[in-house]
Subunit: 318 residues, 2 copies
Amino acid sequence: MEKVIGIDLGGTNLKSGLISRDGKLEHLHYQPAEAGKGPKQVIENLLKAIEHQLNKHDGEIRGIGIGAAGQVDFKTGVVIDPPNFPDWHEEPLGDIVREKFGLPTFVDNDANVAALAEQAFGAGRDSDNFILVTLGTGVGSGLVLNGRLFHGAAGAAGEFGHTTIQFDGPVCNCGNRGCIERYVGARWIVERAMDALPHYPESILNQRAEEGPLTPKVISETAKEGDALARRVLEEVGTFLGIALASVLNLLNLDLVIIGGGVSNAGDLLFKPVERAIRRHAMSVPAATVRVRRAQMGEHAGIIGAGQLAFEGLAKSE
Amino acid sequence: MEKVIGIDLGGTNLKSGLISRDGKLEHLHYQPAEAGKGPKQVIENLLKAIEHQLNKHDGEIRGIGIGAAGQVDFKTGVVIDPPNFPDWHEEPLGDIVREKFGLPTFVDNDANVAALAEQAFGAGRDSDNFILVTLGTGVGSGLVLNGRLFHGAAGAAGEFGHTTIQFDGPVCNCGNRGCIERYVGARWIVERAMDALPHYPESILNQRAEEGPLTPKVISETAKEGDALARRVLEEVGTFLGIALASVLNLLNLDLVIIGGGVSNAGDLLFKPVERAIRRHAMSVPAATVRVRRAQMGEHAGIIGAGQLAFEGLAKSE
């Protein structure tokens, strides 16, 4: 059976695996990316990971797909300024891998390949027009329009996290004010809870905060246990997300919003407020067209999506 | 030479003409739409306008294109809830016209066909990824993505006017708060000038306001004459537009923004603030990718775009 190598290159881990056409992942392999040691080391580690997969499974591998943090010129495979990769400016990952192994190699942004995975095997199987929003340290996103991943004019499309919802709001990492990421990025979710703690002396989050730093995961778990403060925080996060999504839906009339990442495991405690805010803030047709779902692909979305990227690239070049 | 009939159906005027493949408009014909008399009368007027064009030019006409106010199901040609058309809910314009004249008929939203006209013959000829924003009573828009008009999942895409820029801002016609239309729609541009008049006793706008109601056109003319208040108003309008566009550009990485409508004839007095605000509020790659241009097709964009809609529809069905 035909297979490709799928690679998820993040600042911490370099994950690889073999992917079959039906999205099955085998031989999952983790190694440190060692981003702190500079691009040369990262690239060496990447080539080692590919060798590892090839050595075990030579003969049946048709190509390589890579989902990388940062901005990716998907036409050339150049990876530009990935956050948390010191000294990395522009590295032609695609060419380097192709030259070394002589295999067709395809590179795209990590949020984009995650959207590909959801489209092919996950929550987006029945949609041709959706956005995948991943809630983490930042707010990433990938857009599928008319059934295809949308890259925009220069490959940089998909920065939903930097949608302005309050033009005189607090300053975001990107330099703009009032971006949605500044309201629902992990750090800001936690800050929202910490600021409210004194007003909720009975909240379980007081205990949790003494045990260790709060995280969005802890907050969503605590919300599931019924904690009022944790639920209020998720309600606010969902409302802000819905406001930002309403602008996107008015513009693009998508029929699906997929939400993934740490805080999304709160389920309806997050999704109901998102849906309510969309209905309140979007126009009638876009609001009626859209559904909101949780991402289904989990932590291996990046590897499986990278595999899908390779299969789609191979199909196009045939 | 092959021709089609192009029709621009607005609340006030029903404009028709013959369009050739190169976008040339002949036999321009205006008649009142008589929207106030209800859909039956409007449809009768529409059929009369088509007859008028057919009688003069039978034999060379291959199809009919209609750009209509309101939301249009472009697949079926049904026109839904056009603003300022009393008693109009859903009218199957496409079917009615096809049945009456036996000619291939294509219907789309007026902002969408204007974007088609700019793409084929105007400011968008060298772009595959742009937004046309028309500033009038409302803020309309049409999106061209990957070289094709983008409709979204249910045909309602393109409501850039209802992008939230301030989630607790003033209430918009659509029910949401802080939409860009609530800041740069004609009424709000004029209100902005009127509110500031007392602080600018030497502004020419004081005289103009005595002569008759201010309009965005008067404000942009006065700005060209050097009036400080009028220029301040355009500066503010441009800044708000740039903030809303920054969100769109971060999401879609377009390489072109085309701005049309009354206030756009202020030229650089509007466009420079738009560009400055985009550079300040958008991320580096989207900001570097985009140019801002004035719409080129003028008042006949609707008819010519409707003609282009018909030619593209005919080409697809061949």
